[in-house]
C-alpha cells in the first residue's frame, strides 16, 4: 500500500511540533517480516507497533487472515449487527479554506441554509425513513449558521430522534455543554490529517487552519458533556501510516483522559475525481480494507464507521468485517431529503441505495440493521 514509502518527504523538525502523546514518529520507517505480521495478528495487547505492522506492505499478503480476525473481533464486541445513521446537512455556508471540500469558501457553489421550518421537514422525512440517529452538519462557524442556529437545530432534532449528534465547527467546552443539555449526544470531528506539514497546505485559511485547536476540540466536547466523539482522518491527504498511527494515539489518549467517552473511528476517503481535487496520497479499496482490518484488530472495542462515500459493493463486503456502523441513504446536499435539494453536495455519494434496499442486503448477509441503539432517557 502507499504506506510503503511512508515518511521520505517528512522533515523531522516539523514532526516534533506535535505533542508527545500524539507523535507517531517512533513507529515510522520500520520494516516488518511475515513473522512480525503473524505476531501482530495474534497480539494480546495490540499497540502502535502492532498497527504499524498490520499497515505495512508485508501485511498485504495477510489480508484474508486479517479479515477473519477483524470479523471475529467485530462479532464478539458488537454482535451480528450494523448500527445505522444518516447525515443531515443544515448549511453549506463556510469560511473555511479546505482544499478538498466542495463547501470551501473559494468554491463557487451556491450556498444554502435550512430555515427551521425546512429543518422540521427534513427531520420528518428522515423519521419516515425509520432512522433514529441523525448527524447534523454545517461548515465552519458563519453568521448564517452560528452556535445559536446549531443549538436550535439540535433542539428540533432531539424532539424526534433518540440520538442526535453533530458534525459542525469546533466550539468551546461551555457551548458543547449547552448542546448536551439541548439533547446532543455526540460529536464527529475529523482531524483530516495529523501531519503538521500537510495540515496547513490543506487548511489554507479560517479557524480550521489551527491544527492544535482542532486537535483539542473532541476533548473539549467530551469535557463539556457530550458522550460520544467520532474521530477520523481523511484518507488521501497525507501518508496514511502517519495519519493512522496518530489517529490511533489520539483515540488512546482520549480513552485515558476522558475515561467515560464513547469513541468511534471513521474512514472517509478522498477519491481522485471528487470535486476536481487530486488526492496526493490516493488510497485504493484494497488499502482501505487493510486499514480497516488493522484498526479493528488494534481497537477491538471501538465502533468503526463507513459512510456512503464508498461503493455499494465495498460497503457490502466490509459490513461486519471490522465495520459495525454505517450511514445509509445519505444526501450531502442541504435540503436533500424533504426539501428540493438539487445543488451540489459536499462530496459524492457512491452508495445511493435507499434504507430498505440496504437493509435487505444486510439481512441477506445475516446482519441485523439496528436503527435505535440509544434512548432519550440517557440524556
Amino acid at each position: 500500500m502507499s504506506c510503503s514509502h511512508p515518511t521520505s518527504h517528512i522533515p523531522h523538525s516539523t514532526i516534533a511540533s506535535l505533542p508527545d502523546w500524539l507523535d507517531p514518529e517512533p513507529w515510522l520507517n520500520r520494516t516488518f517480516s511475515s513473522a512480525d505480521i503473524e505476531r501482530a495478528l495474534s497480539a494480546e495487547s495490540p499497540d502502535e507497533k502492532t498497527l504499524a505492522a498490520l499497515l505495512s506492505p508485508a501485511a498485504e499478503e495477510f489480508l484474508e487472515p486479517m479479515a477473519a480476525r477483524a470479523q471475529a473481533l467485530t462479532r464478539r464486541h458488537f454482535g451480528r449487527t450494523i448500527q445505522l445513521y444518516t447525515p443531515l446537512y443544515l448549511s453549506s455556508y463556510c469560511l473555511g479554506g479546505c482544499a478538498y471540500c466542495g463547501f470551501a469558501s473559494d468554491r463557487d457553489t451556491e450556498r444554502h441554509k435550512l430555515s427551521f421550518e425546512q429543518v422540521e421537514i427534513e427531520l420528518a422525512a428522515l423519521k419516515k425513513m425509520g432512522l433514529e440517529e441523525v448527524l447534523l452538519l454545517t461548515g465552519e462557524r458563519t453568521p448564517q449558521a452560528d452556535f445559536d442556529y446549531v443549538l436550535k437545530c439540535v433542539e428540533l432534532a432531539a424532539n424526534h430522534f433518540h440520538k442526535v449528534t453533530i458534525e459542525v465547527f469546533p466550539m468551546s467546552e461551555h457551548e458543547y455543554g449547552r448542546l448536551a443539555e439541548a439533547g446532543c449526544t455526540g460529536v464527529t470531528l475529523y482531524q483530516e490529517t495529523y501531519h503538521p506539514d500537510v495540515y496547513p497546505e490543506m487548511h489554507r485559511w479560517g479557524p480550521k487552519s489551527d491544527l492544535l485547536d482542532r486537535l483539542a476540540a473532541p476533548g473539549r466536547a467530551l469535557a463539556g458533556g457530550l458522550r460520544f466523539a467520532g474521530l477520523g482522518t481523511l484518507l488521501g491527504l497525507s501518508d496514511p501510516l502517519f495519519d493512522l498511527l496518530a489517529l490511533y494515539r489520539h483515540v488512546r489518549h482520549l480513552q485515558k483522559t476522558q475515561w467515560q467517552a464513547g469513541l468511534s473511528v471513521s474512514f472517509p476517503r478522498i477519491q481522485n475525481e471528487t470535486g476536481g481535487f487530486l488526492a496526493p496520497h490516493p488510497v485504493s479499496e484494497k488499502q482501505l480494507a487493510q486499514i480497516i482490518f488493522a484498526v479493528r484488530i488494534c481497537l477491538p472495542d471501538v465502533p468503526l464507521v463507513l459512510s456512503t462515500r464508498e461503493s455499494a459493493a465495498f460497503r457490502d463486503g466490509m459490513a461486519g468485517l471490522g465495520i459495525n456502523k454505517m450511514s445509509v441513504a445519505s444526501k450531502t446536499t442541504v435540503g436533500g431529503y424533504g426539501n428540493d435539494g438539487s445543488d451540489e453536495g459536499q462530496f459524492d455519494v457512491n452508495d445511493r441505495r435507499d434504507v430498505e434496499t440496504f437493509c435487505t442486503l444486510l439481512r441477506q448477509k445475516k446482519l441485523d440493521p439496528v436503527f435505535k441503539n440509544w434512548d432519550a432517557a440517557y440524556r
Binding site: 454482535g79 449487527t81 433514529e132 475515561w259 467517552a261 436503527f371 435505535k372 434512548d375
Partner: protein, 261 residues
C-alpha cells in the same frame, strides 16, 4: 432424569429454568427467538435502548412480549449513572409492564465494566420503588452483601468482561459471594462455553445469564440448547454432591499412630 425440583425464585416469581438469556447481538429476530426457545429459558433481558415502538422491525420488545412462556427483564445498558438508570428502569417498566429490572451501569462504553457505586445507588432506589432488582456487578463479595441488604432479588457478578468469552475468571470471588449470600447468585457475562456454565452451577451459582456466547455462535439455537444442558448438568452435580477435592494422600503408615487408639 432431572432431580431438580427446587425452583429459582426471584422476588415473588418462580422459574423452573436456571438459564437467563440476553437478546442483543443476534443477526435477526427469528434467530433470537429460536435460540430463546431452544434454551428453555423463562426470563430474558432486553435493553431499553433497543425498544422501538415506532418501528416494529427494529423493536426487540414486542416480539419477546409475544412469547408466552417467558418474562421480560428490561435492562439499563447505556446508563452512565444511577439517575439515568432509574429513569431507564421506570421507562422500561412502563413500556414492558414487567417488574423485573437488570441494573446495568457501565460508564466506560469500551470495556463495559459495571460501576459499583452508581449500581448500588440505583439498585437501592429501585428496590424501594417495588422493582424486582437484579444488579450486574463486579465480582465483589462486600458489594454483593450490601446489595442484598438494599433489597435486591439477586446479584449478578461478572465472570469476565461482557462479550469477552473470558470464562469464569472471577471464580474465587464468586465462591465467596455464594458462600455468604441469602439471595440467588447469577453469573452474568464472560461465559463462552456450556462447560463454564456447568462449572458455575457446580460452584453453587443459582443461575447463569448468557448472551454473546449464544448470539455469536455458528448455530445460536444449538448453542442455547447446549447451555441449557450445561446449566442442568452443573446443577445436578451440585445437588448430587461433588466428591471432596484433596491433594493430601492418606498415608499407609498413619502419622498419628503414636497417639494410640
Amino acid at each position: 432424569m432431572n432431580l431438580d425440583t427446587k425452583m429459582l425464585t426471584l422476588g415473588d416469581v418462580e422459574f423452573k429454568s436456571r438459564l437467563i438469556l440476553g437478546t442483543g447481538k443476534f443477526s435477526d429476530t427469528e434467530t433470537m427467538i429460536r435460540a430463546i426457545e431452544a434454551s428453555g429459558t423463562e426470563l430474558v433481558t432486553v435493553a431499553l435502548r433497543r425498544f422501538n415502538r415506532e418501528k416494529p422491525d427494529d423493536d426487540l420488545c414486542a416480539p419477546l412480549a409475544r412469547l408466552k412462556q417467558i418474562k421480560l427483564m428490561p435492562n439499563t445498558s447505556g446508563a452512565m449513572n444511577a439517575k439515568e438508570a432509574v429513569r431507564a428502569a421506570q421507562l422500561g417498566r412502563e413500556l414492558s409492564g414487567s417488574p423485573f429490572v437488570k441494573v446495568e451501569i457501565h460508564p466506560n462504553p469500551h470495556h463495559l465494566m459495571p460501576d459499583a457505586i452508581e449500581t448500588y445507588a440505583a439498585a437501592k432506589e429501585l428496590a424501594a420503588d417495588g422493582f424486582i432488582v437484579l444488579p450486574y456487578i463486579p465480582a465483589d463479595p462486600v458489594l454483593a452483601k450490601k446489595l442484598e441488604d438494599a433489597g435486591c432479588a439477586a446479584v449478578m457478578p461478572l465472570g469476565a468482561a461482557i462479550g469477552s468469552g473470558g470464562g469464569l475468571s472471577t471464580a474465587e470471588m464468586i465462591k465467596l459471594i455464594i458462600r455468604d449470600s441469602n439471595i440467588p447468585v447469577i453469573v452474568d457475562a464472560g461465559l463462552r462455553a456450556p462447560s463454564e456454565a456447568a462449572r458455575a452451577m457446580e460452584m453453587g451459582c443459582d443461575a447463569v445469564l448468557v448472551n454473546s456466547a449464544v448470539a455469536a455462535a455458528a448455530d445460536p439455537a444449538g448453542m442455547a440448547n447446549a447451555f441449557a444442558l450445561g446449566v442442568q448438568t452443573g446443577r445436578a452435580a451440585r445437588q448430587a454432591g461433588l466428591m471432596p477435592k484433596s491433594d493430601v494422600a492418606v498415608a499407609s503408615s498413619p502419622l498419628t499412630s503414636f497417639l494410640g487408639k
